[in-house]
Amino acid sequence: MIINHPLLGPRDSQEFIYLGDANLIERPDWQAANAVETFHDYLYLRDNPAGEHRELWYHEQGDRSWLVVTRNTVTHEISKVELARDVARSKGRSK
């Protein structure tokens, strides 16, 4: 697979480490009353769709950036690549 890095252009997926579902960016509030349940769901449960999947890839053998890659889990086709930093900021995180 070739991942079209927003800064570096097309790179072989072998340069990256795969983490998993991009929802892992959405860390729950640890002070909430139901934090035990929400952290269980956050850490252990996955949508695991057959089809379009947003997921985190880390460019370990490159610029060490985290990417949010939108990829089809049935065809392996990659339709969108974003910097995870931009995705988090667009949600009002890490300003």
Partner: protein, 416 residues
């Protein structure tokens, strides 16, 4: 359909025109006591033990495609019970004992061949870990032998003992481990279940559950609604898709694992050998092909095919361990979809829906578990209590901190 030596000779002399299908092709009935979704090894074994062991005869197995077309026909056929943790080892040993009597039990030749499984170690630390594992196995009454370098050399003199980087320090041997003809496992269970009245319904995809007041009433399928008292789901690889129809999110990711077969060779391997420095495991089929595999590709996938970097990685592992295979040509390769769970161990449990039961999360170790998985799932479906060896395989173990993590990798499914 009965098999006998006389029948084989008679058919050989009469052009093999008298063989009958080994199981029926029934139309679905309006209602069953128990429906098992998934006609793979685990689903068929479940149905077989439901009928044989637990006296349930109004049982149906629903299969989207055809029997044996999924992972039971896509694995590398290895059986073993060399686990470390208490939650796992009694279960896999129970499975091994069932393998040892399987052919007599369902009267079908599954070619169970206990040629031994040898795990190699390449550092002192790895040897210590193997000693610990071997002791844990023996505490559970399972056979385990720790071999030194010379012991390994006597068994497999062709290995790369001269490697400066990864010298072979020894190995953990389970002599009762080995290989089984995987397709025959599916066929044997299907035939045995069918003979006991189980309806095996192929080309019947489940498209939804009918759930009323928190209780399952049946399943919607491409061949219409089928009512059921209880529904068991054994569809590893597609678990998230099927359980999603019942509103559940699972502690599972689907990943693709590749496997490979070389051209047929004369007998060269004594049994199953696994490499401790890379991820490579290999055995030789009775036809002579080397059957081998390695790591999963490492990203979520429902495509039954992988990518080339893993092919290269697996073959490098093979060349590093046994350079003699370098001239053998790769004949076939394929991929299967694995339920990679969050701690590397399976789940056999009830769900929040009454009458709906789940069996999955087998990672890439499901084949060896087939008999015990079927037995334990049948036990759960028939009696509503978990089998004594499968009590730890619960959904809530993640919430309670009771993970069964053989590799100690944490909630990172592609590392298990």
């Amino acid at each position: 359909m009965r098999y006998s030596g006389f029948k084989v000779i008679k058919e050989a002399l009469t052009g093999h025109k008298g063989w009958q299908p080994a199981w029926r092709d029934p139309a679905p009935q309006p209602h069953y006591d128990i429906i098992v979704i998934g006609g793979g090894g685990h689903g068929l074994a479940t149905a077989y033990y439901l009928a044989r062991q637990f006296g349930q005869h109004r049982v149906a197995v629903l299969e989207k495609g055809w029997i044996g077309g999924g992972n039971v026909g896509r694995n590398t056929t290895i059986i073993r019970s060399n686990y470390l943790l208490d939650g796992n080892e009694p279960f896999y040993e129970f499975s091994m004992k069932l393998w040892e009597n399987l052919e007599q039990d369902f009267n079908f030749n599954a070619m169970v061949s206990q040629r031994g499984v040898l795990n190699l170690c390449h550092t002192d630390a790895q040897r210590d870990a193997m000693r610990r594992r071997g002791n844990a196995m023996r505490l559970n009454g399972v056979d385990a032998e720790l071999l030194d370098t010379e012991g390994v050399r006597r068994m497999a003199p062709f290995l790369n003992f001269e490697s400066a980087r990864f010298p072979i320090k020894g190995g953990l041997l389970q002599r009762r481990g080995g290989t089984v003809r995987h397709d025959a496992v599916a066929w044997g269970y299907a035939r045995g279940a069918d003979a006991r009245g189980v309806d095996i319904i192929q080309n019947c995809e489940v498209t939804g559950f009918r759930i009323e007041n928190g209780r399952v009433k049946g399943v919607e399928t491409t061949r219409g609604f089928i009512g059921a008292g209880k529904v068991g789901v054994a569809v590893a690889g597609s678990s998230s898709k099927v359980m999603g129809m019942a509103g559940m999110r699972l502690p599972i990711e689907s990943h693709v694992l590749q496997a490979f077969v070389s051209e047929g060779l004369k007998p060269v391997l004594p049994g199953v050998i696994t490499y401790g420095a890379g991820h490579f495991y290999v055995s030789q089929s009775d036809k002579g092909g080397l059957v081998f595999g390695g790591d999963i590709d490492g990203y979520n996938s429902y495509a039954q095919r992988g990518n080339l970097p893993v092919v290269e990685d697996v073959c490098e592992g093979g060349m590093s361990l046994m350079p003699m295979i370098g001239r053998a040509r790769l004949l076939r390769m394929w991929g299967g979809i694995m339920d990679m769970s969050m701690d590397g161990s399976p789940i056999i449990d009830k769900t929040h829906v009454e009458g709906l039961y789940f069996n999955g999360g087998w990672c890439y170790g499901g084949f060896k578990a087939t008999p015990a998985s079927g037995w334990a799932f049948a036990h759960l479906l028939a009696t509503d209590t978990p089998h004594s060896t499968a009590k730890a395989y619960r959904f809530d173990r993640f919430l309670k901190g009771l993970m069964i993590d053989e590799k100690g990798m944490g909630a990172q499914p592609n590392l298990h």
